[in-house]
Every structure is written in structure tokens, then in C-alpha cells.
Symmetry: C2
Subunit: 158 residues, 2 copies
């Protein structure tokens, strides 16, 4: 869908109407807005999206291994190492050696980590309420359901 003729027009408005037809484009644009706001939300806790996600998963799945965490986060194992390093250095999680398999670490959240996570999670809840403020609960549920279907069916591709 081109616009008008051509060259020296000093365009006043840029149309993205073609791209707007693509779900992926709208998805990215919405995620950009949410992600930027989430980053601001997590900043006071010195957490990023990835470290917040990791901390939550460790809290909810105590004792999981780094490989399991990397798999759950869709992150390559080498990249997870630095995330776990950071959380461990800050005293938010521990790497416990597992006697039955001395290759793996069992990740555990610390009391300090749990407290920080609780505070951050409260802030993230407010962030979500702000971002989704214009939606009804039904719309939000429908949105999540649709996103999950895209994710699930799309995952099973070559």
C-alpha cells in the first residue's frame, strides 16, 4: 500500500498500515511498551526482566538445576551462567551441590532473595495493572489464551 507519488514531498506522516496487518508486528510494538515499563519497574530492585524471571522460577521450583532453569527460560546454558552468577553474588540464591549428581547445582532462593522477590513482585503486579488497565478481566484472559495458543502451536514447527 504505497502512499502518494514520490520524491520531494516533505512527508508529514509515516504510515505503517501494511505492517499493522501482521500480528507479529503488533505483538512486538505492544511488548516494547510493556518491556520498557517493566524495566523501569524493576530498576529500583536492581533486577532486569531476565533476573526477575530467574528469581521467580527458582522460588517456585526450589532445587532445580541450571540446565532446567535455562530450558524453562528459553536461554542457552552459557548465557544462564552469568544470570545465576549475578543472583548468587548478590546473595539472592544459592548454588548447592547435589550429592547424588555432583555435576549439577540445586538452586535455592535465600531469605533475602525471597524478600526482594516479594517486593519486586508487588511492583510488577502494579505495573501489570497499569498496562492492562484498559482491559476487562475477560479480555485479559482471552488475550493470554490466544497468546498461549500461538506459542503452543507455533512451537511445533520445523
Amino acid at each position: 500500500m504505497p502512499d502518494d507519488a514520490a520524491k520531494p514531498v516533505k512527508r508529514t506522516h509515516v504510515s505503517d498500515a501494511t505492517l499493522r496487518r501482521l500480528v507479529g508486528y503488533n505483538l512486538k510494538r505492544a511488548f516494547l511498551v510493556i518491556g520498557a515499563d517493566l524495566a523501569r519497574t524493576l530498576e529500583p530492585y536492581e533486577l532486569r526482566m531476565l533476573t526477575y524471571t530467574a528469581l521467580t522460577l527458582v522460588a517456585d521450583n526450589p532445587g532445580l538445576s541450571q540446565s532446567q532453569l535455562a530450558d524453562a527460560m528459553q536461554v542457552e546454558r552459557p548465557n544462564l551462567v552469568v544470570i545465576v552468577d549475578e543472583l548468587e553474588t548478590r546473595g539472592l540464591i544459592t548454588r548447592d551441590r547435589v550429592p547424588t549428581d555432583r555435576r549439577t547445582y540445586a538452586l535455592q532462593i535465600t531469605d533475602e532473595g525471597a524478600q526482594l522477590l516479594a517486593e519486586a513482585t508487588r511492583a510488577v503486579g502494579e505495573h501489570e495493572n497499569q498496562m492492562m488497565g484498559g482491559l476487562t478481566k475477560a479480555e485479559e484472559a482471552a488475550l493470554i489464551s490466544t497468546l498461549n495458543r500461538i506459542e503452543t502451536s507455533g512451537t511445533g514447527r520445523s
Copy 2:
């Protein structure tokens, strides 16, 4: 929502139920799937998401400036330079000097660029059909509408 007690359990399944309540998390997961498939889709044309987006916007808005394009793409001007460089080097767009304002370039798609874009756009259409295959047209429209509302209302924040 923690799971079971604690340490040496050799966990069999990792739960992300807490994060699943967040729209942002589901959004990111779905976008990861779509983005990866889109990258595969664009690979034969040697385009990435950013260069495909730029090419489409130039095609639809002939004569726009780099600043306008950067603004439309939510990309900082310095980062757009390399994108435009790449498209120009490949002969897909031109940077025409504008006589009325010699600071700006008027970006135009070339015939070669238009042909490549047409092929890539066909592939992207198939990619979208695959990704959204499980959705009805109404569901897809509702999804886009909801995403746009999140993007619009979320953009107006501090």
C-alpha cells in the same frame, strides 16, 4: 506459588505458573516463537526483522527521511544508519538528497528492492498464516485490537 519442600528432589518438571499470570510473560513467549519463525522465513531473502520493517516502511512512504523512519521504527537514529547503509549497499533503496533541505535524505525503494520485498512479503504472509492458523479471523482481529490498546494506553506513561 512454591512447589514442594526443598532440596535434593531431582525435580522432574519446572512450573512457570506464577509468571503465566503476567500478560507480559505470555506476550514475550509468544513473540519469541513468532520472531524465531519470522527470522527463518526472512533468511532466504537475507533480511532480518529490522531490515524487512525498514524496507516495507520505505516502500509505503516514499521519500521519508531517516529520522522519520527511525521514529516510526522506534529505533535510535544512530542505529538506523547501519540499517539504511545495508539496504542501500544492496541496492534495495536509494538515499536521494533533497534540494529544499540538504541535511535530509529522501529514502526511496528501488525496483530491485520492490521485487525482493514482494517476494519476502509473500513469505511473511505464509508465515503469519502458519503462526495464526489456529485462530479464527475474529480472534485474530480481537488480538490485534487488544494489543493496540495496550500499546496506545501504555505509551502515555511517565
